[in-house]
């Protein structure tokens, strides 16, 4: 396993510099709260025909156009998310306008309605990236997604996406107590379908997953997951990575290419369905920094977000006496709630506990 002390120090310097610059490179747009699935782990509480109306595209576009004055639009990827963005009938038109204005864009989808026609229309509208969720083989995926056809439909989407050389895409898997046993066959399945990038993450105890025991991994399972990813990364046919969600101690740089760095509010911003300005959409809404219907997005990005750029306040609860605080700096922003008195969970502590009991 790679020793990572030097890399972690280098990363500290890099992170401090990035915080000071806080250049926006990645912008989520929560374009709808509607969803065609009812997943057990959903970080939001969306449902089909949810009463919140989709945000008119013009409102979003008008909010972000002034960004062109402070940075080149092709350095910003707009990650269109939901809900399920494909439920918006005007998605290709939204994408076309974003490209006309120079922004790059992509979607996060469950693939349920993704078909050849939609694929072609999205490509024509200049889509450049897709993230597709696949949470196991058929039974487990359908269980988590609460829908008997969700796996078959997602695989149709997968084949279209993976066969297209024009998209930067990856498959994401939410690892839970059920599917952790089939990660190896799932890896083989993805390889058979010519997938080149696979990203795994655990399910945070937020949204619908809060208090659901089938979702959160035990300490031993977290350790197993780290070792699984470490081994899978030796197979160069597919780039397997652990997501950004947590500092993982000695597994840093062994389970992903770079060291832990929660970029929320530093490089990542968002416009949420009600116009709220925040960072990753899974962050507690108590951390919202403004609203496009009231504030100028660029001013909010430039002048607010102090709470995400200076994380000294995270030195509390479990993080207070953590000897790795200097590298982790209080973990993932999405794992803090409005009380701000303790991080909701810490994978690094779970790994240490599992190793301790071995």
């Amino acid at each position: 396993m790679k020793s990572n002390r030097i890399a972690l120090r280098f990363n500290n310097f890099f992170v401090n510099n990035e915080r000071a610059i806080h250049e926006l490179n990645y912008l989520f747009w929560e374009c709808t709260r509607r969803c065609n699935l009812n997943c057990r782990h959903c970080g939001s509480d969306c449902a089909a025909d949810y009463k919140v109306k989709d945000m008119p595209f013009e409102d979003f576009l008008n909010a972000i156009l002034p960004l062109k004055k402070i940075s080149k639009p092709d350095t910003i990827t707009i990650a269109i998310t939901g809900g399920e963005p494909l439920l918006r009938k005007d998605l290709p038109e939204c994408g076309t306008e974003l490209r006309k204005n120079g922004f790059l864009w992509g979607i996060v989808t469950n693939g349920y309605v993704y078909n050849a026609d939609i694929h072609r229309r999205l490509l024509s509208a200049g889509i450049g990236a897709v993230t597709l969720s696949l949470d196991g083989l058929a039974d487990n995926h359908n269980w988590l997604r609460n829908n008997a056809r969700s796996f078959a439909n997602a695989v149709t989407a997968l084949d279209l996406i993976a066969s297209c050389g024009r998209l930067n895409y990856d498959v994401v898997t939410c690892v839970n107590k059920k599917n952790i046993k089939e990660l190896l066959p799932l890896k083989e399945f993805l390889l058979e379908h010519k997938v080149r990038q696979w990203r795994l993450f655990t399910i945070a105890p937020i949204g619908r997953a809060f208090g659901n025991d089938d979702m959160q991994l035990s300490n031993e399972q977290v350790l197993y997951l780290m070792n699984f990813i470490y081994e899978a990364r030796k197979d160069k046919r597919m780039r397997t990575t652990f997501s950004c969600e947590s500092f993982v101690g000695k597994y840093e740089r062994n389970v992903r290419d770079n060291c832990f760095f929660c970029r929320a509010g530093i490089n990542i911003g968002s416009v949420l369905i009600d116009g709220s300005i925040s960072a990753c959409p899974n962050i507690d809404r108590a951390f919202v920094q403004g609203n496009i219907y009231r504030d100028n997005f660029t001013d909010v990005w430039n002048e607010r977000f102090e709470i995400m750029r200076n994380r000294k306040w995270t030195r509390t609860g479990s993080c207070l006496n953590c000897k790795d605080y200097k590298y982790c700096k209080g973990g993932a922003m999405h794992l803090w709630d409005e009380k701000r008195d303790n991080i909701l969970t810490c994978l690094h502590q779970q790994i240490l506990s599992a190793e301790h009991t071995l």
Binding site: F14, Y26, T77, L123, A129, V130, G165, R263
Partner: protein, 155 residues
């Protein structure tokens, strides 16, 4: 006042220095992936693509032709025959204009725009055409299609 101007000048210079350091660090980073990040529920950095726009007109009267399918792709050989692959397309509007995005860089094969009359005799009957294009960020194509004379006695 002077002090204020000096302060903002100094902070501007500091910010520029930080950006230079950031770029150097990205360049020297242990992997280039340091810069290609994505949040848990987010997409990878999107690939860029190019805007292809233009107009299709008739050779008879120079008017725009509606209903011409414009697609972008390439020919590939399977066994002894050539097949066409295309993954982005659009249809001309009632003035003959079209616009769509496509990737035209680094694919290593001949890049072709196909113009196909897909609505039969509605809006006139035209010969199909293909146009080769070069790698660029924006492409504008004006195309003239030849109208096919329709034999009214054949009915």
């Amino acid at each position: 006042m002077r002090l204020c101007e000096n302060n903002s000048y100094i902070s501007g210079v500091k910010q520029k220095c930080r950006k230079i350091i950031s770029n150097v660090l990205k360049g020297f980073s242990l992997t280039t992936a340091m810069f290609i990040f994505q949040a848990c529920y987010g997409v990878p950095a999107a690939f860029p693509n190019a805007l292809v726009e233009g107009r299709v007109v008739s050779n008879k009267n120079n008017r725009g032709i509606e209903g011409i399918k414009v697609s972008f792709g390439y020919y590939y050989q399977r066994d002894t025959s050539y097949n066409r692959y295309s993954d982005s397309c659009t249809v001309t509007d009632n003035h003959g204009y079209f616009s769509f995005n496509t990737s035209i860089e680094g694919r290593g094969w001949s890049e072709t725009v196909f113009f196909d009359d897909i609505d039969s005799t509605e809006n006139g009957l035209y010969e199909n055409k293909t146009v080769e294009i070069e790698e660029a960020d924006e492409v504008y194509i004006n195309v003239v299609l030849n109208e096919i004379e329709q034999d009214s006695t054949s009915f």
